[in-house]
Symmetry: C2
Subunit: 644 residues, 2 copies
């Protein structure tokens, strides 16, 4: 397709094109839109610039004639013979704000629109956003707002273009791409922003074989994964160092029917160990498999006869160990007999609604509103430890393992029906079905937080060797996910701390100015703001603090502050309505009684208070005090802020 043919097509779809004119080699066109660029349109000349076949800044008909002659001479000097099929195209050179609109066909996310600052520096500043082909106006508007160039829609330097022009343009672009599925790459660069709308000033297209559209490949009519009645654990062990022991122990609080299977029989925790599934009567809706990988398929087949609905395969030795075939069989069985599979190679599943803990991680976790899905067992395990220490509870925990069957999209869909769950945190190493993932987030009733690894080739490799999944382009992942409204976290701990914890306005109480200043900087790095004290609030603090306190936030109550000064300060600042969170920053000064200070946190202040204890041994007692009570506290300024 020549440039002018492409422009003709685009025009027919309603796109505005900056003036252009295509004409034969010997024709003399009538052009009234100078200055123009003149280019050859010929299949024989691919890299026009190399042939001297592009002339810029032509200002008159006279200069145009001269440029035509020069281009023809340049081409024939390269020994290319032009003929009657070859033409010139003159395009108007327009100045103005240059935008970029493009289409890529991503392996993970399929056809995706890229919008942003255009021109020659597109790749240098990468000020772009990513928009799903199925995004609606609100999503497009939100995505555009993520770019810096979107300031031209908000009055930057007097520019007052309407964002709706850009939204409309992208809608047309989506429709054009949907109507022409053979387009695999499309580049409009630049698109000139004018009062009359967005005008395409240059375009490039690549057609090719259409990849299968990834939308709508989910299994329908799945049994609900988070609903269980008769649960069997296969591979229970009385050896306390074995997974089969830990999971059995954690499972005991389950209120439904629970069966333990172990080939050798016997008894554990007062429960019979069945030597075989066959000895259990009736249906089994949920099974946990912890036996060696070679015997897993056989067990599954037995379970299918008992109307299996949900299967959790703890056993390792599958894809991660090079065995793709076994997983293929498991997937095929699950599709054929319509049951859900979690794993293999995972550390289990916890459902607080049913008191069902089928994990071998730390026990004694509190109930909460957070569902945590993790593609890595070790990461989940570390997060469970941290949650235990900080007293954070869960509604659900899913260790996804190799994700042979249930994917994130389907789990998000299912969690929509779980009342106890208000937030979903996801640790993802790879996404298989990007369009479905976006769809699920878009439709989710819960607030979603995602930490995704794989920012580079190096970590892509690491993820690959770990779960055999592919990591897509991180910037695209982040852009698309943010467009649909989930939050991308930079820090793994944020998956625990951020849900239910949207902090906007912060106050710092400290006995040392320096660390408080650093803390302030770290908060600003996280786009958080410090609360501004009102005149009345200053007065209130003046009454309880020595004359040389800082008189602003951070509230520096001076190095000689003992617990009673911290207490008086808290009594005042916890009444400040605009404050969401108070950091209680404690550094070891001569007389600081850190234990007495942290004991203040036991009181019900009606505000979130995070103690930060800087310093080593002098602080040990206070730290231990908080640790035992499962109170969240921090030992460094960075950890106290990085998850925000």
């Amino acid at each position: 397709m020549t440039e002018s043919q492409l422009y003709d097509t685009l025009k027919s779809y309603g796109f505005l094109i900056t003036p252009y004119c295509s004409f034969g080699l010997t024709e003399t066109p009538s052009i009234d839109f100078f200055p123009v660029a003149l280019k050859i349109e010929s299949e024989k000349v691919i890299h026009k610039s190399d042939f001297g076949a592009v002339k810029l800044n032509i200002n008159s008909m006279q200069a145009l004639e001269k440029a035509k002659e020069e281009i023809i001479a340049n081409i024939s000097a390269k020994e290319v013979v032009l003929d009657a099929t070859d033409r010139f195209i003159a395009t108007q050179m327009v100045s103005g704000i240059e935008l970029y609109v493009g289409l890529v066909d991503d392996d993970i996310f399929g056809k995706t629109v890229v919008f942003g600052m255009g021109g020659v520096f597109l790749e240098l500043y990468k000020d772009v956003c990513y928009i799903d082909l199925y995004a609606d106006n609100a999503e497009i508007r939100h995505a555009i707002g993520l770019t810096k160039i979107s300031k031209v829609f908000e009055g930057f330097r007097g520019f007052d273009f309407s964002i709706e022009m850009a939204v409309e343009f992208i809608r047309s672009f989506q429709n054009f791409a949907k109507a022409n599925p053979d387009i695999i790459e499309l580049d409009f660069n630049p698109v000139i922003l004018t009062k009359a709308g967005l005008k395409i000033a240059d375009a490039r297209i690549k057609k090719g074989e259409q990849k299968p559209e990834k939308l709508g490949t989910l299994r329908t009519n799945r049994p609900p994964f988070f609903s269980n009645q008769r649960v069997v654990l296969i591979g229970v062990s009385s050896d306390t160092t074995k997974v089969g022991y830990s999971i059995a122990k954690n499972s005991l609080r389950y209120g439904g029917e629970l069966f333990f299977v172990n080939a050798k029989g016997g008894e554990l925790f007062g429960k019979q160990l069945y030597t075989n599934i066959a000895h259990i009567e009736g249906n089994i809706d949920t099974a946990v498999i912890m036996i060696p990988s070679k015997r897993v398929t056989e067990s599954i087949k037995e379970l299918i006869e008992r109307n299996l609905q949900n299967l959790i395969i703890i056993s390792a030795g599958f894809k991660e160990a090079g065995d793709n075939e076994a997983e293929r069989i498991i997937l095929s069985l699950s599709q054929q007999h319509n049951f859900n599979v979690i794993g293999p190679n995972c550390l289990g599943y916890l459902n607080s609604t049913e008191n069902l803990n089928l994990t071998f991680g730390i026990g004694g976790l509190k109930n909460g509103k957070l569902a945590l899905l993790s593609q890595s067992g070790a990461v989940l395990s570390a997060l469970m430890d941290k949650a235990y220490d900080a007293g954070i509870g869960f509604s659900h925990l899913v260790s996804c393992g190799n994700m042979v069957d249930l994917d994130f999209a389907e789990m998000i869909d299912m969690l929509n029906h779980e009342e106890m769950c208000e937030y979903i945190s996801i640790y993802a190493e790879g996404i298989q079905n990007g369009k479905e993932f976006l769809r699920a987030i878009r439709e989710s009733k819960k607030k979603i937080y995602i930490f995704k690894t794989g920012k580079s080739i190096e970590s892509k490799k690491a993820a690959f060797s770990h779960t055999g999944n592919l990591s897509g382009n991180y910037a695209m992942f982040k852009g698309l996910i943010e467009s649909v409204g989930a939050k991308i976290e930079k820090n793994i701990e944020a998956l625990l701390f951020n849900p239910s914890n949207e902090v906007n306005s912060i106050l710092i109480v400290t006995n040392a100015g320096g660390p408080a200043t650093i803390l302030t900087d770290y908060l600003i790095d996280q786009d958080k703001t410090l609360y501004t004290l009102s005149e009345d609030e200053l007065q209130a603090l003046n009454k309880v603090l020595p004359p040389h306190w800082s008189k602003n936030n951070p509230v520096d109550i001076i190095g000689d502050a003992m617990a009673n000064r911290y207490e008086k300060t808290l009594e005042v600042v916890t009444k400040f309505k605009g404050v969401d969170l108070i950091y209680l920053l404690i550094t070891p000064q001569c007389m600081t009684d850190s234990l007495a200070i942290v004991q203040l946190c036991e009181r019900e202040w009606g505000k979130k208070i995070y103690p930060i204890l800087l310093g080593g041994h002098e602080m040990e007692e206070a730290k231990e005090y908080l640790r035992i009570r499962q109170k969240l506290f921090f030992k460094t300024l960075q950890s106290a802020t990085s998850f925000l």
Copy 2:
């Protein structure tokens, strides 16, 4: 100064200006450089655009005549009467790469050049660097390289402009600014990058009162601060909770002459407590003052009589408590009698070369190559604790306190003569004399690392209330410091860990893929790269590892790895020549014997090995083992990487 007068001046300084022509209201100029922009040049029309007095994209003499008429009509419609002093200016509209070159007069750093991407989006993308007025070619070149736009000098999209053109332009710009000290702001935007050089396409100037030039205000002939012979401690105390006790105790290892003064007399640590300085015979070159602030000046006067060279004022109650007058007196005395002052309101000073520890921080710190200067006592104290735990040693420690006299520049200068010091780390809240600071770093023989607070108005306030110093614009601070070659750290701990620790190529040994993937991402965020294993190295690892190890870096030796597999792996990977640093990532899996694994770190492997112990209680024994031995280790992935 009108636009054309400014251009005429710039031309006379050798700057290239894009073609322009200034002409009377009724003149008809002869212009051959279309397209042009036409503007009025009149003192009566300040905001030209608001008057409709700018016309763009004029392509012919005919169009120019029309534009002239329109502008005149627009202005008279606003009821402004033009006269014979008013003129038009026509400037060529050129397209090309748009750069920005500007001059600002900063409160801290004085006249500073700003260079970067120009055009209308300058403030949006802020792709600029900062260059001192006294920077030489190498420094300018280095600064330019910090911008993204500098890629046009490195072949980006085929651009092959020479960076030397830009360097030469900035040299001319510096000279122009130096020759015209009344210029307080200068904006060239855009400057067009052409093969023939950089051409100014638009310029704006602001003249005003010249601020005093800040270069060369340092005191000359100071006595060397890091050299001491007869040291007196004033305000020694036998009360173990007092500063006067801690400093006296820490000072005991000093090899020179040491005197303790306490008004009550007596004895401490077997040393006489003089009741008065008068009772000590001979000169006193160094004194530490720990008595209440009101009596400090009196003591100083006595010390001056004894030929005081170096004074460390620990006592608080000065500027930070609102008393500026006392500090003014101290400064004036120090200038008059030529002695150095550290403090007041500081926690002291340590000089390993002389075994002189005059701090009240943690004792027992190792000797090392790092000099650490800190403007906050609490921050220094926390860093000293951390250094103790990690076995990091110091050549010098200076708690700067209120910095009444010696500033960072002077300390850097003095450290140049200290052989033991190889690196200087600085925690800065504010800089008073920016030009001197830059000069000192530029001339320093030591590698310098800086953490600076005050990224925002909020933290500016915090810094102000803390030490009474002003924080300048953070971006400018960072840009200028990087131009002169010091490293700006994002993380306070980096001040300890980064010196002597330039890590480029990293290898990860792990028993869990997920955390290793996150670690890889965090490393990439710090611009670090993972070492790529060669075929031979892969083979060597194949021999000692189970078949399903990751086959790349991160070296995932699988969850069931015991200490002996870690050991065999270390035996192989510590021989890889290209590896600077090995992370030993240990997660609690069923059988992991973390203590036995960390014990491997005791061996001399010839490589830097950082253990990371994820997980809670299971790891406690291993952590304690490392802690007792002052071995650096990490408990989170983020802390293990954030300082790099």
